[in-house]
Amino acid sequence: MPLPYERYAELSTAGSSTDELESLQRLLQHLITAPGGWGDVVGSVPPSRVAELASTPRLSGLECVSIYRRMYRLRLLEVLVADYPDLGELLGEELFTELAEAYIDENPSSSYTLADYGAGFPSFVAQWIGLDPMTRAAAGELASLERLETELLNVDAGEPLALDGVHLDAWEHASLIPATTLRLAEMRLHDPFLGADSLAPLLPGEPRRLALCQTEGRVHRHALSAEGHALLERIVAGQALADAVEASFPDPTEERVQEIFCWFRDWLAWGFFSSVAVHNSTP
């Protein structure tokens, strides 16, 4: 429910200079952005102020303002739809729209850019009472993942490290520098690789681990095993390659060595690293 207009105006102009122009702008903005239904919003404005809105040849002043109100809400809804496509698919259009409308009501935009408008959406989703607790938690987790992907799109990818960038003998003393577009994630409640038609929770203690990496303007999700994820975490943390492998696999079998080789081949191909720092092993 919107605040009664008089109260709203008193609150919103406190401490600032007011004149007719400012007063008119506050009136219009209230009509366009106030939460609740259009009837409630109109009812919160005194008729004397409605008279400031002139009719056009075919529409009343209020009908004209309602055009702006519809476009305001549609524009913000479109941002959320674009930023959270998987969540939209998971919840279905009707439920997602209801959720997004609730977010828009509570979060008027305050920035010239809409790039960050949806930044608070994951935490909002995780607390929205319109979803049952299990769905709410899983949806919040998925929204966090999609937000991370949106953020990665604005990161300068740079050139990925090529496999032949370092001589084979030097790898033992090397540290791999992660790409700025690489992020590691763990999903405990929802499996992003299962598709949108499943809300089945993952088994407790068995999170789905993945790496997100943006290359050429697209963010890709790569599934990781628990062991691969742990090794990659060490490398991303700055541990030298040999140390990271030894810490993860103190006594590796030949099969494991082959597996590690395959991981690195894939990780390099997927653009996980930007460069390599080779430490001199001799004093």
Binding site: T56, C64, S109
Partner: protein, 295 residues
């Protein structure tokens, strides 16, 4: 023929007081065809970007823009200056705007005569300012300060509006011309917006266009719109209507070739189709040139 076509694309000077050259016929750069522009290098005089789409942005989007800026003139068109708002000017936004303009070598920077929000909020829409002496004074004073931060002249577009304000005391065209005179800003004349507002508010679009001084105009916008029965929305989702083409020709017949940009934001057709539509803007001049050559 090729020489005539080139003449319509790149005029020497427009009739504007800044002596800014006509960049010819341009397109609004959209992400959906940025890659194609880089690869195919279409015959387009310039590209216009929506400034906010590139502010404080890195990554693939910025990399593509920089590649395009190496090959085409770029002009910047913003939607968030909020020159008519009673809120303080957003200096961070203005500095970011200047930084971007310097980085890509933008030929000029434009926005709209409107306000987008007040009291720290943003409606992300181009809301109408009342056409009053008070608003004229307010906007003019802010134009000066914006120009100082940007380090270049500012050009303001006549926006579409769906709402009339009881306080208004003068026609929109008069407000625009007096604003240019008083503040020193230039005008980006959006022909489609003139048509849309004329329908929505019931004034004569031809008279509006005739009252615009070409000395103040550096660029023209043309676009499509959608008819909603009781009003027209400036949706940029359709080809330019025949009425808007007629208005456009009415203006350029009097004013001469002016940098002209085709805007398309939804239902964007293939790039080749857009370029074909854009080239219709060159037709009248080409016909005149051919006629002049034969006399």
């Amino acid at each position: 023929m090729a020489r005539l076509e080139k003449r319509t694309r790149i005029g020497k000077h427009m009739k504007n007081r800044w002596q800014l050259p006509s960049l010819g016929l341009g397109l609004g750069l959209r992400g959906s065809f940025a890659e194609e522009v880089i690869e195919q290098r279409p015959q387009v005089g310039f590209f216009e970007i929506i400034s906010e789409n590139y502010l404080r942005v890195e990554g693939d989007r910025m990399a593509k823009l920089e590649q395009i800026a190496e090959r085409y003139p770029i002009v910047m068109h913003g939607v968030s200056l909020s020159i008519g708002s009673t809120d303080p000017l957003d200096l961070d936004y203005l500095r970011a705007l200047r930084q971007l303009a310097d980085r890509i070598g933008a030929k000029w920077v434009s926005d709209h005569v409107c306000w987008t929000g007040v009291a720290g909020k943003n409606t992300h829409d181009l809301l109408p300012v009342p056409l009053t002496e008070r608003a004229l004074e307010h906007v003019s004073e802010r134009v000066h300060r914006v120009g100082d931060v940007l380090g270049r002249p500012l050009f303001l577009e006549n926006p579409t509006s769906y709402l009339a304000l009881d306080a208004s005391t003068m026609p929109e065209a008069e407000f625009m011309m007096r604003l240019c005179e008083r503040s020193g800003c230039g005008m980006l004349l959006d022909i489609n917006n003139v048509y849309v507002n004329a329908f929505n508010h019931g004034f004569d679009a031809g008279s509006y266009v005739d009252s615009i001084d070409p000395d103040r105009v550096v660029q023209i916008h043309i676009a499509g719109h959608s008819f909603e029965g009781t009003h027209i929305l400036d949706t940029h989702d359709a080809p330019v209507s025949s009425e808007v083409w007629r208005l456009y020709r009415r203006y350029v017949d009097r004013a001469g070739q002016t940098s002209t940009l085709l805007e398309r934001d939804a239902n964007v057709p293939p790039l080749g189709e857009l370029v074909s539509e854009l080239n219709r803007a060159g037709t009248p001049n080409r016909q005149r040139s051919e006629h002049a050559a034969s006399v």
